[in-house]
């Protein structure tokens, strides 16, 4: 064949193949109505929260594709937005339950099925909980936070009755059964796909959803999209309105904004504050922001390292931080200030609450002089580049303020991959960081962040016997329902944390969401991911 002939034939073929263009378009507008398209920056690396290193977007898949025995109820916040209600547990897979002193018994729904049609029984629940406390890593850890530690604690009484035996009295046991980790897995299906090396089938659930939740993943491409279909036979709640959910990852923040403003996307989740403020001003889409429960951006000082082992130095730093500037220039006002209280003594047993430090340069200088550092000193200030949108400007502002009392801080940017490793080492003298606890209780936050057990989140290596006694006391008082002792202990550890300031709370950030005006039913969750079940379009 000559070249010219080839070109002719090729063009002809191309032209012919373009002709059959069926009129699918009409069908689209309909499916568009039942389809939700939402955008985030990055996607899941694992569909199973029990997996090794599952990231936050992965939690979202787990949440929507698996059921738990119980879930949290919902409440309307003062600003009219919906939020989960930490104080109200509602039935999900379990129709009802009775919680005694040392055990809880759950009655499962008799009509509930997994996505493949197998009925859900107590055996599956037992297998799933055994899995959570055995596989190690994050799931096992999270179970432990509610004193759920051993497989023997979980008993399948009969097909539809399940019992959890408590190891000790712990106020957090029941709430911990409604977080993402204790999800119910299709044990038979996973066992079929498990291998000798991988007895819990983690490789299988990494890319397959083997649950009975309201949605199932039907298509996905890592880093690009996840497509869900509604599970039509879902019985653990009212059938969701959205039939199909398409989750697209759009790395560029500018494009995410363009897509929502042009009306091509329904929801843009977790927006930067700047975009949020501007979208709100433009008024084309609905924007919602909710304070992240039990979450605080803070400046941490390593109390094991000189000069921060001196409480006066730490207080001096707390008296010079540019709190208001950070709120205005970095957060565009979209955060709850964690400063500006009348004093450093807690007004109520709640957390987070503001402290009494404010920029007072004379006080800061005096404190530094008392510590024998009148001429200041040199140190480094580190932040996680993965959260650089907030971390970087905050660090720069802090650097500037510290310089005014002679503290020369060099900014140290640490890539996201290294951040956790550096935190574990506890070598960094001064960091800007964010921490939030899933369970929204003061003692839970303090247990991770201030307790002498020195968890990774106690980034300051703060260890103090009196502090531990207060935290343990509050946990005990909570479990026993002793309100008076609880209030004294909680106020006590907050006061102590403010007086000794190993970490200075800066602000409580918001979770920002933009959606089309046709979308309703958005609800804030403690896990800070999107729940598709309550959403309604049109």
């Amino acid at each position: 064949m000559k070249r010219r002939d080839f070109l002719k034939t090729a063009t002809a073929t191309a032209a012919v193949s373009l002709l059959p263009a069926p009129a699918i378009r009409t069908a689209w507008s309909q499916s568009r109505q039942e389809t939700l398209l939402f955008l985030t920056e990055s996607g899941p690396n694992n569909f199973d929260i029990h997996g090794v290193g599952t990231n936050r977007p992965g939690y979202e898949v787990s949440w929507n594709c698996y059921d738990r025995l119980m879930s949290y109820g919902s409440k309307t916040l003062p600003d009219g937005t919906l939020s989960y209600d930490r104080d109200k547990l509602v039935p999900e897979l379990a129709e009802e339950w009775t919680a005694g002193d040392m055990s809880a018994t759950f009655k499962l729904r008799k009509d509930a099925k997994f996505h493949d049609g197998t009925p859900i029984t107590a055996k599956d629940v037992k297998w799933s909980f055994d899995r959570a406390v055995t596989v190690g890593g994050f799931p096992t850890f999270q179970m432990k936070a509610g004193s759920l530690e051993k497989p023997e604690q979980f008993v399948a009484v009969d097909d539809h009755t399940f019992r959890v035996d408590f190891l000790r009295k712990d106020k957090l046991t029941m709430p911990d059964l409604a977080v993402i980790v204790p999800a119910v897995y299709n044990s038979e299906l996973i066992k079929k796909n498990a291998t000798e090396k991988d007895p819990w089938g983690l490789e299988y659930t990494k890319v397959n959803t083997a649950g009975g939740g309201a949605y199932k993943v039907t298509r996905s491409q890592a880093g690009t999209e996840v497509v869900y279909e509604r599970f039509e036979e879902w019985k653990s709640g009212p059938l969701p309105k959205i039939k199909r959910v398409i989750w697209r990852m759009v790395p560029s923040a500018g494009n995410r904004r363009a897509l929502i403003e042009r009306g091509d996307a329904d929801i843009s989740f977790d927006l930067p504050s700047k975009d949020f403020a501007e979208l709100k001003a433009a008024g084309k889409v609905n924007v919602t922001s909710t304070p992240i429960g039990n979450g605080i951006w803070y400046l941490g000082m390593n109390v094991k390292k000189a000069p921060f082992d001196n409480v006066k130095v730490r207080q001096a730093v707390a008296y010079i931080l540019p709190y208001q500037k950070i709120m205005d220039a970095v957060m565009f006002g979209l955060a709850k200030p964690m400063y500006g209280a009348a004093s450093n003594s807690a007004s109520a047993p709640v957390w987070p609450q503001p402290h009494g430090y404010k920029p007072e340069i004379e006080k800061a200088k005096a404190l530094l002089a008392e510590a024998g550092m009148a001429n200041g000193f040199e140190t480094t200030l580190s932040f996680d580049l993965g959260l650089g949108v907030i971390g970087e400007p905050v660090s720069v502002l802090i650097q500037e303020s510290l310089a005014s009392i002679g503290i020369k801080a060099t900014i140290n940017k640490i890539p996201g991959a290294n951040w956790r490793g550096e935190l574990v080492k506890k070598e960094l003298p001064m960091i800007v960081n964010f921490f939030s606890g899933w369970l929204d209780y003061p003692e839970y936050f303090f247990f991770w962040a201030y307790h002498g057990q020195n968890a990774v989140f106690n980034t300051m290596s703060y260890q103090d016997a009196a502090m531990d006694a207060l935290i343990d006391g509050a946990r005990k008082a909570a479990a026993e329902g002793d309100a008076a002792a609880y209030e004294t202990d909680v106020k006590g550890f907050i006061d102590k944390a403010f007086a000794e300031v190993p970490r200075v709370p800066l602000f409580q950030p918001y979770l920002n969401v933009a959606m089309q005006k046709t979308i309703t039913g958005y609800q804030y969750w403690f896990h800070r991911q999107l729940d598709y079940r309550t959403l309604v379009k049109g």
């Binding site: 193949s17 689209w28 690396n45 890593g137 759009v250 363009a258 996307a265 991959a417 290294n418």
Partner: protein
């Protein structure tokens, strides 16, 4: 000819071995700790150690290397921790996306740059020569993410002509059955015109972005090489013999001027393929560049090694192809290692 190709291939083996060793060592030398990263939010030091064990990172380096090479020999590139997939599957899914984009971008810039360079060489100092210089300078000095964002802003956000910058297909289309991985070709093979148009529409802006960036080197090299050829004696002879100007320029001059252009083309192609991360980020394109960068940020060794290795193999293949192309263009060239 075949012998020569084989011989040529044999010489690339040492460099590939070198690439395998160097990437292995380099990824290990990265400061990040994948175990700490993937141990997740509430990791204790013990949890981190557990993950390290699961990932096989507690083994001494030589042992890790032996295992890596062993897997490699079986065609196993390992598993990516960031996407949770086999690296080979990830690369197979993403390479065609990048290749389709890059090839079209190159085609676009060739169709502009070569004529531009030729005309500029024919009339040095003329308006078109200056235009060539301005376009080349502007194109190369605008960073691709900037061009990309501007194009999205104007053609999608303001005018609404372009489709949403959401990757390779509008969300309500599904990808054609995979044959080559190139959506344009696959959709034609499947006889699905709608998908072909949808894929083409998605391609326009990213292709323009990449194309504008690569006009400069190609146009400049075409111009320079044409200038040299046009002033050579055989062209003067051809002109003196009264051949038509088009025959002189296209048949004689351009063909002789093409060698350096092809060389540049090969370099620009391999450069673009790996370096169009920014374009991929702007257009949410599921390409190989953004894949590698994300893996690098997470200290995810397997994909980084897989990416570098794939790129090295591609580079070798590309160079070989260019060498063969040399011979087609200029029979005097001999392929020797």
């Amino acid at each position: 000819m075949l012998m020569m190709v084989l011989k040529r291939l044999a010489t690339t083996i040492p460099s590939l071995i070198g690439v395998v060793i160097v990437t292995f060592l380099l990824t290990r030398a990265l400061p990040g700790d994948p175990a700490a990263y993937f141990a997740g939010a509430a990791a204790t030091p013990q949890a981190v150690e557990e993950v390290r064990k699961q990932l096989g990172l507690d083994q001494p380096l030589p042992l890790q290397f032996v295992r890596y090479v062993g897997d490699l020999a079986q065609g196993d590139l390992g598993t990516s921790l960031t996407t949770g997939q086999r690296v080979s599957a990830d690369i197979a899914a993403r390479l065609p996306a990048s290749a389709e984009l890059t090839l079209l971008g190159l085609l676009f810039s060739l169709s502009i740059a070569v004529p531009l360079g030729v005309f500029a060489a024919l009339k040095p100092g003329s308006l078109i020569d200056h235009a060539c210089r301005v376009i080349a300078t502007a194109g190369v000095s605008l960073p691709v993410f900037f061009t990309g964002l501007i194009l999205v802003y104007v053609f999608y956000y303001l005018l609404g002509w372009a489709p949403a910058p959401l990757g390779r297909l509008d969300i309500f289309f599904s990808a054609p059955p995979t044959v080559t991985g190139f959506y344009l070709i696959d959709s034609l093979l499947a006889g699905d015109g709608e998908v072909f148009w949808a894929a083409l529409k998605q391609l326009v802006l990213p292709v323009l972005t990449l194309g504008i960036f690569s006009i400069a080197p190609i146009a400049r090299i075409t111009r320079a090489s044409m200038l040299a050829v046009l002033s050579s004696e055989f062209v003067r002879t051809a002109r003196a013999s009264g051949l038509a100007p088009s025959t002189v320029v296209i048949t004689y001059a351009l063909r002789n001027a093409l060698l350096p252009v092809v060389t540049t083309l090969g370099m620009v192609f391999s450069f673009l393929l790996g370096a169009n991360v920014l374009v991929e980020k702007v257009f949410a394109w599921p390409g190989i560049g953004s894949y590698a960068v994300e893996a690098l940020i997470a200290s995810d060794f397997a994909p980084v090694q897989g990416f570098v290795l794939t790129m090295a193999v591609l580079y070798v293949a590309l160079n070989l192809m260019i060498d063969i192309l040399y011979r087609v263009i200029d029979p005097r060239v001999r392929i020797e290692a």
